[in-house]
Symmetry: C2
Subunit: 513 residues, 2 copies
């Protein structure tokens, strides 16, 4: 652990933080178990255990020791600001300034309550029982409001929450991005629906054996670079990725017999996992040993799920193996399949939405979250507000709350201020993919041969390896040469779905004389 050349102050800070990181990663193991294998009546004790681990990690981090060690490390004349330690210490300072504001008892109480609330949600959702879930949701919203008050904010309490998931972004930024997205996406959805021709029924009537979904999903994830010696694939109510270390990163999916959604969830979660698996081993057990933000994380999951996993070159290679796993697809043509997995259609469930309508689901959640935080919307009115907004954005109304307001685990798990990062991820996925393509112009041809090593190598070098050493805007600028901007993403959507639906393309501005 200790290095004779290393200044003592830095060694001491690193050891102090390693204990906290171990506590957090241990809590992650308990969280993973809770969602995958825990017997149902283990929930109460698990909530206490998670509460304790979370409280101990928080207490240690906000203890005066951290400030003393940080001061000493920052003052060390041997600290190279360009080194890993230099970058990590800046990040620790930032987090310390933030977390010192949250009382330990608040953090523990929220962890315990969130663990129980998640369980309540998991039981209430299949029974379509919003009333049973409502008090827990109410409590989660109160925790969110109190958190914002503790943390403080300039413009909007939402900013205090968002900063935890996406440092460097405010709700004003999100408002601007969503306004621009609406301009393009709402007419694009309309154009697609107008031109919709019901696709080959083969895909909707086929049965997709979960065992085959798992086998095919793992085959593809393995080709992407997801390695079962350093990870697992299990099932859970809501797919997720959990990392305990750069050498132990686990994903989950859920299978439905009447769709391939379990397979696409594997692609998606494998993208998250590849990020964590690609973090430099020198950052293991340090404060920078996980991904830099949720937006960057989602850029990786959406890149592998959509830019690869719903692309024409990918299916050129993988449609045949897919047909081997699902013989009922044997008569169906590749082109019909490609159209089917990219069919634009307003739908109820976010995680199964096509790429075009997906962001409308996020806007809806973001708007409701803001209103709930501000108190202008009561939790009791939430199902109605949800359904109204589904009608406005997507022209459909959920038949049940299970397929409406209760579909996601986030709010139940105290993850409030989280949803906009999904759209940031979509936007960044295209910015990063285009940057990789500029560096390696033959990327699409490699993908059409089922080869992903060049792409993964580029992502590792420019995104993954850094872990949480830098703030997301810095990683994006270093990797792509520009700041976050929705334009490449909107062009991607217009081009891909314009071609799929035969929509006349606007002449791109840059090609004009």
């Amino acid at each position: 652990m200790s290095n004779p050349q290393e200044p003592e102050a830095i060694t001491a800070l690193r050891a102090h933080l390693a204990t906290i990181v171990d506590l957090r990663n241990s809590a992650a193991v308990l969280g993973w178990d809770q969602e995958t294998y825990m017997p149902v009546r283990g929930a109460a004790a698990r909530a206490e255990q998670l509460g304790t681990l979370t409280r101990l990690a928080h207490d240690r981090f906000v203890a005066p020791t951290t400030a003393t060690l940080l001061d000493a490390a920052e003052a060390s004349d041997q600290l190279d600001p360009a080194s890993d330690d230099g970058a990590i210490i800046q990040m620790v300072r930032r987090d310390y300034a933030r977390l010192i504001r949250l009382p330990a008892e608040f953090v523990a109480a929220r962890a315990r309550a969130a663990s129980l609330s998640t369980l309540i949600w998991r039981q209430a959702r299949p029974r379509n029982d919003f009333a049973a879930f409502r008090p827990a949701l109410q409590e989660m919203m109160e925790f969110a409001r109190r958190e914002a008050d503790y943390l403080g904010y300039e413009d909007h309490p939402y900013d205090a929450l968002l900063d935890h998931y996406e440092p460097g972004i405010t709700s004003r930024d999100i408002d601007g991005i969503f306004a621009r997205l609406r301009e393009v996406i709402i007419p694009l959805v309309r154009s697609c629906i107008e031109r919709d021709h019901r696709s080959d029924d083969t895909f909707r009537t086929a049965e997709y054996d979960p065992i085959e979904q798992r086998a095919f999903g793992l085959k593809v994830a393995g080709a992407f670079g997801f390695d079962l010696s350093r990870g697992r694939l299990d099932e859970s109510a809501h797919p997720f990725t959990q990392s305990f270390d750069p050498d132990d990163v686990r994903i989950t999916t859920r299978y439905q017999v009447n769709s391939l959604s379990g397979v696409f969830a594997i692609f998606h979660e494998a993208g998250h996992a590849l990020y964590e698996l690609g973090i430099s081993h020198s950052l293991a057990r340090t404060w920078a040993g996980h991904g830099a933000s949720l937006g960057l994380h989602e850029s990786q999951s959406r890149l592998w799920e959509n830019l690869i996993g719903r692309s024409q070159p990918f299916w050129q290679f993988y449609y045949q193996p897919l047909q081997d796993h699902f013989p009922s697809l044997r008569r169906a043509k590749l082109d019909a399949f490609y159209r089917d997995v990219n069919r634009v259609q307003p739908s109820l469930i976010r995680v199964e939405a096509d790429e075009v309508t997906y962001n409308l689901h996020i806007m809806l959640r973001y708007e409701l979250e803001k209103e709930l935080i501000m108190g202008s919307l009561a939790v009791s009115k939430l199902p109605e507000a949800w359904n109204d907004r589904m009608q406005t954005y997507l022209g459909i109304t959920p038949p049940t709350d299970a397929d409406g307001v209760m579909q996601d685990t986030h709010w139940a798990s105290a993850l409030i201020g989280y949803f906009p990062t999904y759209t940031l991820g979509n936007i960044l996925s295209v910015q990063l993919f285009e940057a990789a393509r500029r560096a390696h112009p033959t990327l699409s041809e490699e993908i059409a041969r089922g080869q992903f090593a060049t792409l993964l190598g580029w992502l590792r070098e420019h995104v993954h390896t850094h872990g949480r050493k830098f703030l997301p805007p810095e990683i994006v600028r270093q990797a792509t040469g520009t700041a976050l901007t929705p334009e490449p993403y909107l062009q991607y959507l217009q081009q891909k779905f314009g071609e799929l639906y035969g929509i006349p393309q606007p002449v791109p501005a840059r090609r004009m004389a």
Copy 2:
């Protein structure tokens, strides 16, 4: 958590201990995951995480705060010595006096080393590579010696280790018990072997599908009282039970296609689990929330595995369901099956040994452990010493170290001083079962009807519910009316196997005129 009627000193001590209990139970979750689902390369990080949780739990327990809180609680005039708190505080005082002697760094280093050593064992065993395992084993023995030195002892360093697993018992007690067991068991084994008639080959040539072993094992465990809403059954290299709370107790087994050993391991581990599941819920998150000792624990596992699961009444009821799961047994008679599962035969693997030879495996390990601790046997000479002693006790020599000295996980996992508790468990299982039968003379008839509620109820009331509130000798005395004694166990063996093998019975002393 806090009760207005409760003295503050006791509330404070309880909260302090609850955090430590949560840390320990969290470490147990990580340990369970390590043995069941952890990807192989997650081991290094897991060792660090376990080291940290173990160190934090130890640090908190031996901190001056504990002494201060203990002093205050003991001095409180509101403390009722007969209450749960009164009993728990005595146990805490005892453990504190013991654990304060172990340096925190020692505890953390051993936890880390044991985690890695377990992994090395798990990889070396299938490769039959003792040389690869030797340095880790050497290290574990050195930790054991150092632990004994830290703790101190009167007669033998082994006593310091044993006290952790079986408080109130010394190696002198064990020596006496083993001497008595040898007097009866060695001639009994010889008599059985002389009278052995190779049993029906059906059982040895049948294939036992692991899926059916699991289904049948769970059916029986469920009838015993093991409930999947409060537990799980998984697979691991070595069967074990792990409890995180009286409402989350998990068992594992391993299946072999050519035997029912996976089923008997389920019976065994279910016995352990029923103990933990039966602990009073009022003891959850207290210092007394787990079983009282390994010997008492093993008394429960061996009771359900052998006194029930290898008994005639049990198979009168369950042989038919077994045949339904394994149709190749349909032509075989119940009596032949009963003889087969009770066949006395010197064998290599402890966990698969019959009831009569089983204790010889324990004696061998106990003797070797003592010599290793004293330094009179070098780890490098251990395989040879193991094989020599197998020849002496059982008349056979393991063809490989995998089936010899490397078969058990205990030494790899720093569990040294543990083995004798298996024999204590055998002895206690009969003492307790006879006490239950004295209270409920129709117990055997209930078992022959597949009914176990009376037995479980008696065990819960007299053993399980107390958790670790009392020392094992006190629990045994309260439950059976006598101290630990091997005589009922030896009578049981002589009677059961005397009948099975047609050995002339000695006239019992008590029936003499």
